[in-house]
Symmetry: C2
Subunit: 412 residues, 2 copies
């Protein structure tokens, strides 16, 4: 993971900040008993909280209930309950069931219902049975622990092959503070939303308005620059909970400490984004497309995303084929205004850097060296438009047989 001055990576994900307990277990939604399907995250103190949600017109019932609760509580929350295997979306009784999940958790924890947030992921349009969740609540609460992050992150995984957790430590207002996060998701992921389920905790003291501001800015350059398959899910959500237990002077304006927090949030979310891309459904390679030399950031990110979503380019990367014409084709398809005949394209990995296109036309290169570069499992595509100073990064993965396999046979 890339190092940033003033920040140290830590273990324990969402449980890295002080005062956050978590747990996860199998309640029976998933017939595979070894696979957790329900988790609970609880803070010792009430948290200033902010969230962003999917932009799909179809919104999962848990999204609607979480929004309602955060509105009612004026941005305060203390717990999150989440399940996998069933998205509780497009069901007649979806909101009722999502609310019930919060009621059950609130009662067991002795807190107000509107201080509980809820999230679900899984198949759309199947009625969520509440009984197994209800039956599991006592054990779920009993098992809460300050290092329960592993069990919790297992519970939100669906087609994920690895759990995704990050935590960083830094100093703000003279206090050591931490930000931790966990994320799930490897399919139905696309720019322009708050992608996948993402829970972020911190022991910093900061207002929910400032969390919201930082979150929206960081989402724009991290999760929203990620695409696995162009599909925006109905249940995507990122929430950030700050319990203030680091005892710093509460951040109420955009001062130096706010900047430190925002950068910490960026580090956590950028790393989770890379993990999501690398573990995209069926993926064998992380693709990182950096567009520089653009007249403005919007142009840069539009070009970078256009490349990262191209199925033909993604297949070529799976085949380790330096078919750069497909990159230029995708650049040309970007809905932005720029000159195409200045463009330079390089393919990079830990094995080296390969120039494939200059001034919009191909240059001779060694196919052997190209294969050496593309054999690696993290590939950077550097696109220099040569007409400005702005740059942006988009993340994605290759398109493989396994993506088709996983998604040709998902429900069963």
């Amino acid at each position: 993971m890339k190092e940033f001055e003033g920040y140290q990576y830590k273990e324990k994900g969402i449980c890295a900040p002080q005062g956050f307990r978590a747990n996860g277990l199998n309640c029976g939604l998933n017939p595979v008993k070894e696979k957790n399907d329900l988790c609970l995250l609880v803070s010792d103190r009430e948290c200033d909280t902010a969230a962003v949600y999917t932009q799909n017109k179809v919104k999962g019932a848990p999204i609607l209930i979480t929004k309602k609760h955060l509105f009612a509580s004026n941005g305060k929350a203390q717990a999150v309950i989440a399940n996998s295997k069933n998205a509780n979306t497009c069901n007649h009784d979806g909101e009722e069931k999502a609310e019930q999940m919060c009621v059950l958790a609130a009662k067991a924890l002795g807190i107000q219902t509107e201080k509980v947030l809820v999230a679900s992921t899984g198949v759309i349009g199947q009625v969520l049975p509440i009984e197994p969740i209800e039956a599991a609540i006592p054990e779920l609460v009993k098992g809460l622990s300050y290092d329960g992050n592993e069990k919790a992150v297992q519970a939100i995984m669906t087609t994920d092959t690895i759990p995704k957790q990050v935590a960083v430590e830094f100093v703000a207002e003279g206090k050591t503070v931490r930000i931790g996060g966990m994320a799930k998701g490897s399919g139905m992921i696309h720019p322009n939303m708050a992608t996948t389920l993402n829970f972020i905790t911190t022991d910093l003291a900061i207002t929910s308005d400032l969390i919201q501001k930082a979150l929206q800015e960081v989402v724009a350059v991290t999760y929203n620059c990620l695409s696995i398959d162009g599909d925006t899910s109905t249940n995507d959500m990122v929430c950030v909970m700050a319990n203030g237990m680091a005892e710093n002077k509460k951040i109420t304006e955009e001062n130096q400490a706010y900047q430190m927090f925002k950068q910490g949030l960026y580090i956590v979310m950028m790393n989770l984004t890379r993990m999501l891309a690398k573990d995209g459904e069926g993926a064998t390679k992380l693709l990182e497309c950096i567009c520089s030399g653009a007249p403005d950031w919007n142009t840069a990110i539009t070009v970078a995303k256009s490349v990262i979503v191209s199925p033909l380019f993604k297949c070529a990367m799976f085949g380790e084929d330096a078919n750069w014409g497909r990159i230029l084709c995708a650049v040309g398809n970007a809905k932005a205004e720029f000159a195409i005949d200045l463009v330079e394209v390089k393919l990079c990995s830990s094995a080296g850097e390969l120039l494939v296109c200059q001034d919009g036309s191909g240059v001779a290169f060694s196919e052997e060296f190209a294969q050496t570069v593309l054999k690696e499992d993290e590939i950077q595509i550097l696109i220099d438009l040569k007409q400005g100073e702005a740059a942006a990064t988009a993340w994605g993965c290759d398109l493989t047989y396994d993506y088709v396999k996983i998604n040709g046979d998902y429900r069963s």
Copy 2:
């Protein structure tokens, strides 16, 4: 093929209208000697001609030359030369080579260079060798015939598995006229352009301005409603050539005969579009998404296209899985304004019709019957928004292992 009153389907594709000769052969661009890679289409008389081109910022050199020639000749053309295996795009000498192809054909045919149009398809960014084309021209011209459409259509195929040709006959201004067409393309195909290489001939007499008008209107509801993989090619082109040999009173205004022509053009292009979708790279199924009950056509087509491009939905169709939640997710992602909670979704095929979603929520259905419906190779997805009278159709195909295979290993 669907029947239309007043129109009969005919054999011979581009050679169905009077006075069009064609030929195709292998000149050596394709090392497989049995595979044609170069074709020529010639009209006995000069044609009123119109064309539409790719909207990709990267435009193949042949596109630039064809545009230039049609501009210089004021919409008159008499021949088309086209090759596969090499797109002649993103090369320093691309325009020079494309012009040379026209010069060579014009000389051999004894016509002006600007009356020759040119098209190329294949790998981007590899220099096009002109020598094999030059050497093949005498044989190509010598072999021109009034039923050379089969040889010609073979020459424009790339990853296509079947040739795509259609012709219809109808009466306009008291004369029997014909429209014929051929198309290629099964990858790098996406809405919002003139997709793939498409050549359409007619013996009708009509001005090039009116051809252009009809072409643009028909492209909007046929090729531009097609998506195989979301990638817009650099070399797409549709051209329509009218040689007037049916001897009808020349159509110079939007009268009844113009409407007959436009409808004929629609029948030819709609059928070619369906053929392109069904033969999409790796496809096992034609998917036809019909969105009705929309407030306006733009909303309808936006919804239909959003479904047809969704990789998750496309994989589910490959897996013959009635995972309608993915359809609703794609509907919700459509960039249009409408209420989601009225939506009804049905899956249809020759085996029957299955209701899966009503009022935006799932309904119980027989999985066994669903499998019977989805086993067929042409599937219709009927989406009724229940909030208006407008309807639109988009065409696509399933996403399969073979798509990945074909595109993971294309250049070699």
